[in-house]
């Protein structure tokens, strides 16, 4: 255990932050894709599917992400799947992210005025055509600011994967804090890295929201 200097700390944290970014991207993209599928079930016409997705979102929003990580980690293993921390982390984060995105997006769909449904219906469009051409394009637009805003939660959520042993920036931080006896510096740097990752997302979410309130144009 040789001397670990400030530069080493910083370098190791930045390398680990790469995993944080990768994990965030996986969660967000995967959660987004799953979220779209679930969204169609959530607002679709099959009532039992609607209920199932509703329960899904309630459960995943009503339990700690940490517990979901533990369960993915140890539960998937029980199914005979070999689960490295990265797979468990990805799975839990995707399921968790999807649960929130479904609800955010459902809110956007229901924010579309009833008149849009009626006008498109009276033009003879089917449910799918209404969705495809009238409702979703509008919902998509208003969903951008809250979706970007939620991405901050995803980035921060990845910190919990440290607890199941995935070596991203938080885990690297705990290891380094212990190895260097400089918790103040190390956790300060870790916080700074997260801030640098998240703050631009927060800012752009706010800016998008403001822009949308000023002009709600195409």
């Amino acid at each position: 255990m040789s001397q670990i200097g400030f530069a080493d700390i910083l370098w190791n944290l930045i390398m680990a932050a790469g995993w944080t970014v990768v994990l965030s991207l996986i969660s967000f993209v995967g959660g987004g894709l799953l979220g779209i599928v679930l969204l169609f079930a959530r607002i679709g016409k099959v009532s039992w599917l609607r209920v199932v997705v509703k329960i899904y979102t309630e459960v995943f929003q009503g339990t700690p992400l940490l517990m979901q990580l533990f369960l993915a980690f140890f539960g998937l293993g029980l199914l005979g799947i070999d689960v490295p921390p990265s797979l468990a982390a990805g799975t839990a984060l995707i399921l968790w992210t999807a649960a929130f995105l479904v609800e955010i997006w459902r809110g956007c769909v229901s924010a579309i005025a009833k008149g849009q449904w009626e006008a498109s219906a009276s033009l003879g469009m089917t449910y799918v055509e209404q969705m495809r051409h009238v409702i979703l394009p509008q919902a998509f637009k208003i969903s951008i600011p809250p979706t970007v805003g939620f991405s901050v939660q995803v980035v921060k959520g990845t910190a919990l994967t440290s607890i199941i042993g995935f070596v991203e920036v938080t885990k690297a931080g705990t290891v380094l804090a212990n190895a260097t006896f400089q918790p103040f510096t190390v956790y300060g740097l870790v916080a700074l890295i997260y801030f640098i990752l998240c703050y631009p997302l927060s800012l752009s979410a706010k800016a998008l929201e403001r822009k949308m309130n000023v002009t709600h144009r195409h």
Binding site: M1, A16, D82, G165, V167, V175, N178, F181
Partner: protein, 238 residues
Amino acid sequence: QANALEDISAAGKIRVAVPQDFPPFGSVGADMAPQGYDIDMAALIADKLGVDLELVPVTSANRIPYLQTKKVDLVISSMGKNAERDAVIDFSEPYAPFYNGVFAPADVEITEASDLSGKIIGVTRGSIEDLELTEVAPQDATLKRYEDNNGTISAFLSGQVEAIATGNVVAAALIERNPPKLPEMKFLIKNSPCYIGFNENQPELMAKLNSIIETAKADGDLDAISQKWLGMPLPADL
């Protein structure tokens, strides 16, 4: 029941749970790669089995679930043996010495378990120290159980606990790095050498591991590892 040893050979790879928060058994260097007694031991086993080695960093709290859920083939993470554990997993012959005790700065007066009365002691959850100390500590001693050794040691260094229970060599490694608080051994809790853990009902694997350990003891390989990381020869009674 599958034959784990055959599975390992077939895969050409062995997955070993090792610590990375527990010098000198397992810690990280400036490049964040694991290093230590347990890592060298894992390398030795892999070498003798003629398979590749995959190191999986674990904590004291989660290493047994890792094994049970077959995320790893072996646990080589300075794990002590007790009845509870023996009921759920199997152990090899011991491969390293381990004396765990209670450590505190010089100005804290503790000489035996009863002196822990009213004190706050940090320990790593699920470790042998945790299990043993839970038995012997007086009622009014407060045990703070941390998730991993990082937590325990950080809590000690930042003064959140007055004393910690850990291995003597761990404390020694700590002292070597010249921390702000110097731990000194107050009393020995238990002599509890380290064993390799693996899933139950694997006689072939157990036999193979034991023979590798025997050989390593005999031909000095293990002694070399001990010299390298513990700075002392392998005790004869191991």
